[in-house]
């Protein structure tokens, strides 16, 4: 199912590449000892190095390098044992040194691949061009004073990974799937918290369009700093449509940097002052080339956690669930862990249905996450056990689950307290059936006259008589016998 934009002169294909800036999870900044915690008072996490005082020098933070290497390994990418830091020179008030230390020519991570999972259940392999380490800039606040700008340097010098994809994406959905999968992998690895609201993950979106079958790419535009997955998808669509219009009207798309305006749902060119033209890159003479010990890289590799793709394959094999279910369950590591705790020693499919259906529904409804779920994995497992050992029936189980969502109590306690234990005593079932049949002579005659679809109605009446606690199998069996 190929995504096409239908123009007035025919269909167009969209070509997308993403440059994602992911803030590295680390105690201190890329080249200084200052802290990186989000939300601290302005300029409270700034060292003399971050503020670029005279004579201050950068010293590489080994943990940030390890995080970049872990991420590279997680993207099945080549690790460059020798890389280099360059200076990207431009003037701005929140860039204290007048240059950003980045990796221009020799990044720490080279080419890799990432599998994206699409809504229709299919998968696609997307090329990773490179990953490099760089410093973040500070923050300019223009709305605090009528004539002045305020500068907060807390973020200045924080480590970022720039992860660049090949132009392999062909639709807004694929772009969204790419962002979701990348965020999932980063969170599994613990190398980026993936929190887009806090700015930990931002994307520059490169978009071009071409006629299906054309083998060359046309001119692309770069949409800067898009900070949600939804906006990435919207920006792709809006920009692609704009470009189709330009081409179809006989114009030419100019290579330029644009911004996405979510309010208007359109992209617009950045003012020329918003970006510099010549960054005058050159190797930073304050830093030596970054040389990695292959044994150190191997140790990091050996300690990588199981990543979403591997976990998905294992869930399919180990728990016998469909690939689609497994794909949904592994997106967040916390969900996967929750599911696994429920599924272990139980019916995997049943566990998946309860987690993806009832639990996700309840979390959505109550605005909670898997980490703050009122129903623990242990309690959900216990509920399945109560169903499977016939202590309660499936219908009562739904009620017990709702009670668990409300109270956070264990299912056993709820069943006991509310007397919801399933009735398997055939005497009690027979008594209930007899009462129902005695009160409904007409219906019994109708059934016996051939209206077999009434059977379900009788089951409902008996269950009602038993306050829902009758064992469904036993009720069916006895009813059949008594109705003859």
């Amino acid at each position: 199912m190929e995504y096409r934009i239908e123009g007035s002169t025919g269909a167009w294909e969209v070509v997308i590449g993403l440059e994602v800036h992911a803030q590295v999870v680390s105690q201190s900044k890329l080249f200084s000892g200052a802290a990186t915690a989000f939300g601290a008072a302005p300029n409270s996490q700034v060292s003399l190095v971050d503020a670029a005082f005279p004579g201050m020098l950068p010293v590489i933070n080994a943990e940030c390098v390890a995080q970049a290497v872990r991420t590279g390994l997680g993207l099945n990418a080549t690790i460059n044992l020798e890389s280099r830091f360059d200076r990207k020179n431009y003037f701005y008030a929140d860039l204290p040194a007048g240059y950003q230390i980045s990796q221009y020519q020799m990044p720490v991570v080279g080419t890799g691949t990432m599998i994206i999972d699409l809504p229709d259940g299919s998968s696609k392999s997307i090329g990773i061009t490179r990953l490099h380490l760089e410093q973040d800039a500070g923050k300019s606040l223009h709305d605090q004073h009528p004539t002045k700008s305020y500068i907060d340097l807390n973020r200045a010098g924080v480590a970022l990974m720039e992860i660049v994809s090949e132009p392999d994406l062909r639709s807004p959905e694929e772009a969204g799937a790419y962002m979701r999968k990348l965020r999932s992998i980063l969170r599994y690895l613990g190398t980026c918290d993936g929190n887009m609201e806090a700015g930990s993950l931002r994307a520059d979106v490169n978009v071009s369009v071409r006629r299906p079958g054309e083998d060359k790419f046309r001119t692309r535009c770069e949409i800067k700093n898009v900070n949600s997955i939804r906006f990435v998808m919207h920006a792709v669509e809006a920009e692609a449509k704009r470009q189709v219009e330009v081409w179809e009207q006989g114009g030419e798309v100019r290579q330029e940097t644009r911004l996405y305006d979510p309010g208007r749902g359109e992209t617009r060119p950045m003012r020329s002052k918003e970006h510099a033209h010549d960054y005058r890159y050159f190797p930073d003479p304050d830093l030596l080339p970054l040389k990695l010990d292959p044994a150190w890289v191997e140790r990091l590799k050996a300690h990588l956690p199981e990543l979403p793709d591997a976990k998905k394959a294992r869930f399919v094999a180990q728990y016998g669930i469909p690939a689609y279910d497994a794909g949904v369950l592994v997106v967040e590591k916390a969900t996967a862990d929750f599911y696994e705790a429920v599924a272990t020693g139980r019916d995997g499919k049943q566990a998946a249905n309860w987690v993806m259906g009832d639990l996700f529904g309840a979390l959505n409804r109550t605005g909670k996450s898997i980490d703050t779920s009122p129903v623990t994995a242990e309690n959900l497992g216990a509920l399945l056990d109560l169903i499977n050992d016939a202590t309660i029936n499936g219908k009562i189980a739904k009620d017990v689950f709702e009670a668990m969502v409300e109270t956070g109590e264990a299912p056993g306690a709820i069943v006991e307290k509310r007397g919801l234990r399933q009735v398997t005593d055939t005497g009690a079932i027979d008594t209930a059936i007899d009462a129902v049949l005695a009160a409904n002579d007409a219906k019994v005659a109708e059934y016996r006259g051939g209206s077999e679809k009434l059977f379900g109605w009788f089951v409902g009446q008996v269950m009602r008589q038993m306050k829902g606690k009758g064992n469904p199998a036993l009720v069916n069996e006895a009813l059949k016998r008594k109705l003859g």
Partner: protein
Amino acid sequence: MTMLTHLTLAGMRAQLRARTIAARELTMAHLAAMQKHRALNAFITETPEAALAEADAADAKLAKGNGGALTGIPLAIKDLFCTDGVRTTAGSKILENFVPPYESTVSANLKRDGAIFVGKTNLDEFAMGSSNMTSAYGPVRNPWTRRGDNAAVLVPGGSSGGSAAAVAARLVPGATATDTGGSIRQPAAFTGIVGIKPTYGRCSRWGIVAFASSLDQAGPMARTVEDAAILLTSMSGHDPKDSTSAPLPVPDFAADLEKPLAGLRVGVPKEYQLEGTPPEITASWEQGVAWLKDAGCSIHSISLPHTKYALPTYYIVAPAEASSNLARYDGVRFGLRVPGEDLDDLYANTRAEGFGAEVRRRILIGTYVLSAGYYDAYYLKAQKVRARILADFTEAFRSVDVVLTPATPGAAFAQGEKMDDPVTMYLNDVFTVTANLAGLPGVSVPAGLDSQGLPLGLQLIGKPFDEVTMLRAARALERAADFRALPALGA
């Protein structure tokens, strides 16, 4: 008083330890000399009160017999080293009121060993110059004058001209300096003193206002090889805060200076015989060769074929790095701020008023050579030539232990001379820039006086991190030259 300031640093140390002089007395003698010779303009900032307080503390330590390597020794610090709580200007108006809240590693090392700082010495703005004429705080006067010509005021060389003048005029026995293309060795030669530029990485650059990071290196200036070696021992050492600092142990550079030189191989590079070199410079060089031969060295003619490219290479690499290093002086966080309509205006106003002409020129050159489309032709090419220059030396050092050259193409010139054309000024660095480009240690030693009565220097270049051998050869030159002449001022 005069006698105290004329002692060597080693001599002062011996007397302080023997308690035949007090640190306070020694410091006061130097402070008095500084006051008397203010016309030299060697200092931008003097710190007499702090110096006297430190002197008293030094005397207390010395009385208990637990002084360090430099306890009680007055020193001057080039105003490119950040000093905690003491204004640090880099010779620029843009840092006129900048008081760092931190101490450079090199000056901290000297303090650790007990040195007393009497003030911050004048320099070319951001260390960019060979004459000290580019300082925003006025030029430094060379204490030497031409024989029979008191009218012409001579330059002390640069950029460490203030340190050189202060040491030569006996205002201090030693001073810190920095050398990016010759800024220690050229002024040492112009003022008849010893200046060491150690191997790149020997001294930490942390806390030194950066000019060109891949070339900058701190070193000492003093009146004898031994004094300079004592200072270098204290200044050196690995610093985790400077990624380019060498993780190597520091030898006692003063320990083996008197060891015989027999068997030492001295290289004489033929490419340093430049057309138009004054005969007196050539004669001084030949004299140096003869002295080392007499000391038991073998002399070898060597070839350093890429020498002629060194100066143009230097004047691409150094401005390129400087253009980036000086971007931080933007009026936003510290230093001079000249407000404007908007941010771009603030930058333009601040930097136009804060930087002098030479600094602006080098920022422009550096910005140009790094620009898209020019990078490969200039900066990248320069880096390749730089690698060749290092390869020349690596090859030469397979057959020789040290290289002997003149320190400068001439003696000190007068203020105002060589000012018409920047390239003429840049030619002053012709013998010294190679050591910076190759990261090698170099030392300038006074070799004698020219026909005008001005000092001339000889330069020795050593193998990487083999300052010990280089300084032994320097000591042999010093012994043979027996340089005793005194400058007209300060003597």
